[in-house]
Assembly symmetry: C2
Homo-oligomer: 324 residues x 2
C-alpha cells in the first residue's frame, strides 16, 4: 500500500500489482465506461481509433476513479475523520461523490467565485463546502485551517500517488477490450491522468506509447519535460479549464519515465475537435477532452495505420456558454 | 414479401415473421446501437429507463433502417434503376447512404432552401441531388418527373411498409438486451418510427404498451387517433423539425391498432428534455428525440415502477443554432 499524500521518487513508482489492485479496489464504485469508434474518423486518420468515454463516468469525468481509490486507501480512523480538498472543478464533485458512496465526510474548499452549478453539485453530493477568497494562497490556508480543525485527510486532485493509481484504471479497462493498442493519448493538466495512463500502459505492454496533449496556453508539462525540471504554469490561458493546473512533483517523474512526448495544440484546434466529436460521435465532451483529440488531428501522420486509444476525460460543460 | 409503396389495410399488417426477416435483412448494414441508462433519471422517475440510442446510428438517425430495408426488398431490375425520394431532412441522408452501401443509385429531391450542410451530406454519400422549389407541390411534381425519366423506385420517408418494417428493428434490438419492458415511447411525425415500434413491440409481447410522443405544435397524429381519421398537419410549428410531417395512411392503421395513446408536449418541455439528456447522459440528441423524453417527464406518474424504453431517434443538430 502506498500512503496518500506521499512524495515520490523513482524507487516508488507503483508496480503492475499496484495498478491491478486499484482496478479491483474501485471496481464496485465506478462505471466501466464504453469504448466508442467512428468509421469517419478512422477513414480520415487512416488509423483505428478508440475513444475511452470517461465523459460517461459517474459525475461526468475520470476524476471519480482517483478520488475513490484515495479514500479506499485510508485507515478506518482516517476515514472517520473525513477527507478535504480544494478545487473548483471536477475533482470537487469527484471527491464529494466518492465520499458519499464510501460513507465518508468530505470538506471541499471552493473559491467564492466558483460557478454556482459546480457548488450546487458538490452540495448535492452531500459534501460541506468551505468558501475561500479566489486566490491560491487563500485556498491553501483555508484548507489547512479546516484540515487541522477536522483532522480530515487532504487529497490532492492530481499530485497524489493513490489518485494517480485510481486514474490508471481507465486505460487499463480500455486495453481489456481493445487488443494490441499501439499508442494512447491523454490530456495533461495537473498530470494525474497522464501519469496514471502512462503507468498502466507501460505495465500492460512496454511497447505501447503514451503521449500527452496540452494547450499551448498552458504548456507547463511540455516545458517541464523539455527542460527536465518542473516549470511553473504561469497565467494559463485556455478554454480547457481542467488543464490550467500546475504539474506535480509526484506525477512528473512518472511522466518523465513513461511518456514519449507532449503534443501542444492551439485554442482553435481544441474548439474544432470538440465540435467534431459532438457532431460525429454524438457525445458531449468538455474542452479538456478535446485537447487529446486535437493533438491526434494535429499530428495525424504519426498515427497512420496505428491502433490509437484516446482518453476522453470528461463531459462537464456549460451548455449556455459554448465556444461554437 | 411486402411490396414497397403498397397501400395498407388491416389484413396487411406485417407478421412477426416479417419483423424478424427485416432484422436479419438489414443487420449487416446498420449499427446495433447501444442502450444507455442513467441512475439520476431512474431516481427522478422512480422507474427503470432504457434509452435506445439511434443518435449513434449510421448517418445519425434510425432512418437508415427503413431506407436499407426498402432498397433490399427491390428486385435486381428495380435496384439497377435506382431509388428516389423527396426530403430535406434525415431521410435524404439515410436513403443516400443506404443506396451507397447497397451499390444503388439514389436521387434525392430537395427544396432549394434546404440547409447547405444537409445537401452536402447527401452529395457526400454519392446521391444525385435534384433541386426543386420549396413547396410540397414542387417536391412531388419534380419527383414524378425524375421518377419517370429514370425509372427509379419511389421510397416514401415514412409511409411505406418496408420502411416501417426497417424501423421496427430498433425496438426489437432493445428488447433483446432489456428483458421485460413494460412500455416503449417513440416520437411520431410521419409515423414510420412509431408504427414500426408498435408493430415489433406487439409481436414481441402483447403486454408491452407503446406510446407516441408529439409536439402540441404538430399534433396531427394525436388528433387522428382521437377522431379515428387522418387529420392534416396544418402549419406545424415546433423545434422538432423531424416531426412536422404528415401522418400516413399506411402507418395510421398500425398506430390505431397497436399504440395506446399519444402524449403531447410543449416546446419548452422539448428544449428542457434535450438539454437534460445532453447534460446528464452526455449525448447529443436532436429535438425530435427529446420529444419522447419530454413525454416521459410530463406524464412521469404513469411510468412509476415500470421498465420504460425510450427511442432516441437521432442526433443530427446544428451546433451553431442551439435553443439553449
Amino acid at each position: 500500500m502506498l500512503p496518500t499524500g506521499s512524495t515520490n521518487s523513482f524507487d516508488m513508482i507503483p508496480t503492475l500489482k499496484d495498478v491491478k489492485s486499484a482496478v479491483q479496489r474501485i471496481k464496485p464504485y465506478v462505471h466501466n465506461t464504453p469504448v466508442l469508434t467512428s468509421t469517419t474518423i478512422d477513414q480520415m486518420m487512416n488509423a483505428t481509433v478508440f475513444f475511452k468515454c470517461e465523459n460517461f463516468q459517474r459525475m461526468g469525468a475520470f476524476k471519480i476513479r482517483g478520488a475513490t481509490n484515495a479514500i479506499l486507501q485510508l485507515s478506518e480512523e482516517e476515514r472517520a475523520r473525513g477527507v478535504i480538498t480544494h478545487s473548483s472543478g471536477n475533482f470537487a464533485a469527484a471527491l464529494a461523490l466518492a465520499a458519499r458512496s464510501l460513507v465518508t465526510k468530505a470538506y471541499i474548499v471552493m473559491p467564492s467565485n466558483a460557478p454556482v452549478v459546480k457548488r450546487e453539485a458538490v452540495v448535492g453530493y452531500g459534501a460541506q463546502v468551505i468558501e475561500c477568497a479566489p486566490t491560491l494562497e487563500s485556498r491553501e490556508s483555508t484548507m489547512k485551517v479546516y484540515q487541522k480543525k477536522t483532522g480530515a485527510t487532504f487529497v490532492h486532485p492530481s499530485n497524489d500517488i493513490n489518485v494517480i493509481l485510481g486514474n490508471s484504471t481507465a486505460v487499463w479497462e480500455m486495453a481489456k477490450v481493445v487488443e494490441n493498442l499501439d499508442v494512447v493519448i491523454a490530456p495533461v493538466g495537473g498530470g494525474g491522468l497522464l501519469a496514471g495512463t502512462a503507468l498502466a500502459t507501460n505495465h500492460l505492454n512496454y511497447y505501447i506509447e503514451t503521449i500527452g496533449a496540452e494547450p499551448f496556453g498552458a504548456d507547463d508539462a511540455y516545458l517541464s519535460l523539455k527542460t527536465g525540471k518542473i516549470q511553473p504554469c504561469m497565467n494559463p490561458k485556455t478554454i480547457a479549464d481542467g488543464l490550467k493546473t500546475q504539474l506535480g512533483d509526484i506525477n512528473f517523474p512518472i511522466i518523465q519515465k513513461f511518456v514519449s512526448k507532449i503534443i501542444r495544440v492551439e485554442e482553435s484546434e481544441i474548439i474544432h475537435a470538440m465540435k467534431f466529436i459532438w457532431e460525429r460521435l454524438k457525445i458531449v465532451i468538455e474542452p479538456s477532452s478535446a485537447v487529446a483529440v486535437a493533438a491526434m488531428f494535429r499530428n495525424s501522420s504519426e498515427f497512420k495505420k496505428r491502433k490509437v486509444g484516446v482518453i476522453l476525460s470528461g463531459g462537464n460543460v456549460d451548455l449556455a456558454n459554448l465556444p461554437f
